[in-house]
């Protein structure tokens, strides 16, 4: 048939999830950049995406790479925190004080944080998470479980 949904539908359906994934992976401003880079790359590649593809897994895979790019750039050129202008973080959800959780997530080792983001935030099955991280399904499952266990120790709020 060759019919594909308008890209706007992709943004509508998955924009929120991809933003939450980016915010687990990166600090707020960097998360916005990663989201933008992800959807720009996605609209470029969209016409060639097979119609049977899992669109959310595809987007999360792109976001994974873009977040790594952003992190690498940051580690090479760290931003002096003192020079960041004061601005509302926009982090988390109004009415809930969950910023401690987001901070705790970002302090996890990379693999655990990524596994938590892709399984618990994007809701991808461990087989898909393993594809993104490179490694076995079992390793992905373990990384997510370790991540959640570490979160429980480091994060006391929420309940």
């Amino acid at each position: 048939m060759g019919t594909k949904h308008p890209f706007e539908k992709v943004v509508e359906e998955h924009g929120g999830t991809v933003l939450r994934v980016c915010r687990v992976l990166l600090a707020n401003h960097d998360a916005d950049d990663a989201w933008s880079e992800t959807f720009l790359a996605a609209i470029r590649a969209y016409p060639g995406l097979p119609e049977t593809a899992n669109v959310e897994a595809w987007l999360v895979t792109i976001a994974h790479r873009k977040a790594i790019d952003v992190l690498r750039a940051r580690r090479r050129h760290p931003v002096p925190v003192g020079e960041v202008p004061e601005q509302p973080t926009g982090l988390g959800v109004p009415g809930t004080d969950d910023s401690g959780l987001w901070q705790a997530v970002r302090q996890l080792p990379d693999k655990q944080r990524q596994a938590v983001a892709y399984h618990y935030v994007a809701d991808l099955p461990y087989a898909e998470v393993a594809q993104i991280l490179g490694g076995t399904t079992e390793a992905a499952r373990r990384a997510a479980a370790d991540g959640i266990r570490n979160l429980r120790t480091s994060y006391q709020g929420g309940a």
């Binding site: 060759g2 019919t3 594909k4 949904h5 308008p6 890209f7 706007e8 943004v11 924009g15 929120g16 933003l19 939450r20 915010r23 687990v24 916005d32 989201w35 933008s36 959807f39 720009l40 609209i43 470029r44 969209y46 016409p47 926009g90 959800v93 109004p94 809930t96 969950d98 959780l101 938590v116 618990y120 935030v121 809701d123 959640i148 979160l151 929420g158 309940a159």
Partner: protein, 199 residues
């Protein structure tokens, strides 16, 4: 773990997504990736969908055509790189507002007629020569395009006009004095004819 689940799946703020959407519109336009931009506008004949390629306005759709279906069709026929991106359609929205306010008689917009082919395209290209407030019969239009026997085909060309209002197929009427069929419904056709007769 359920506590974490809840927190991780709370919706991201609509404000942040709206801001990121605008950023995406601009970046896609700059990178030449915005194959079809669209927006909706209100009008006396109901909500209208406007869509444009980089070449010009490619589609105007009435509510009864089902805007979602129209967008799906544009994705299939032109490109799936379809994004709600109002700024490319600012001029069109302004001219339509002026037209419906009785302050504009001629549309001055770049048009992309790539959704039409052959005889339909030929007819649609001739329609703007019927001036504001004037009408022609299907037979007269058939004569105008040099195919006097093709009266029914002229009817089809008008019914499949991808740019109603802007390409004035509403100025073509049956010879029996009724408004005749129209992509936006007969009432919409009558509204446009009344508007142009009053101005």
């Amino acid at each position: 773990m359920n506590d974490h689940d809840d927190l991780f799946t709370t919706p991201a703020e609509p404000d942040a997504l709206a801001r990121l959407h605008r950023r995406l519109e601009q970046a896609a336009e700059q990178e030449g990736l915005l194959d079809v931009a669209y927006r909706a506008v209100d009008s006396p004949v109901g909500p209208l969908l406007l869509a444009a390629t980089p070449r010009g306005i490619v589609r105007l759709a009435y509510d009864i055509e089902d805007h979602d279906r129209v967008l799906e069709s544009l994705a299939g026929r032109l490109s799936p790189r379809v994004l709600r991106a109002p700024s490319r359609l600012d001029a069109a929205a302004r001219e339509l507002e002026e037209y419906f306010g009785g302050q504009r008689r001629v549309f001055d917009l770049p048009l992309d007629l790539s959704l039409s082919r052959g005889f339909r395209l030929l007819v649609q290209q001739h329609l703007p020569s019927i001036g504001y407030g004037q009408t022609r019969s299907y037979r007269q239009v058939a004569e105008l395009v040099g195919r006097p026997a093709a009266v029914r085909a002229v009817g089809t060309a008008c019914a499949t006009n991808p740019l109603p209002v802007i390409v004035p197929c509403h100025r073509v009427l049956p010879s029996d004095g009724t408004p005749g069929r129209y992509v936006g419904g007969p009432a919409a056709k009558q509204t446009l004819l009344n508007l142009e007769a009053a101005a």
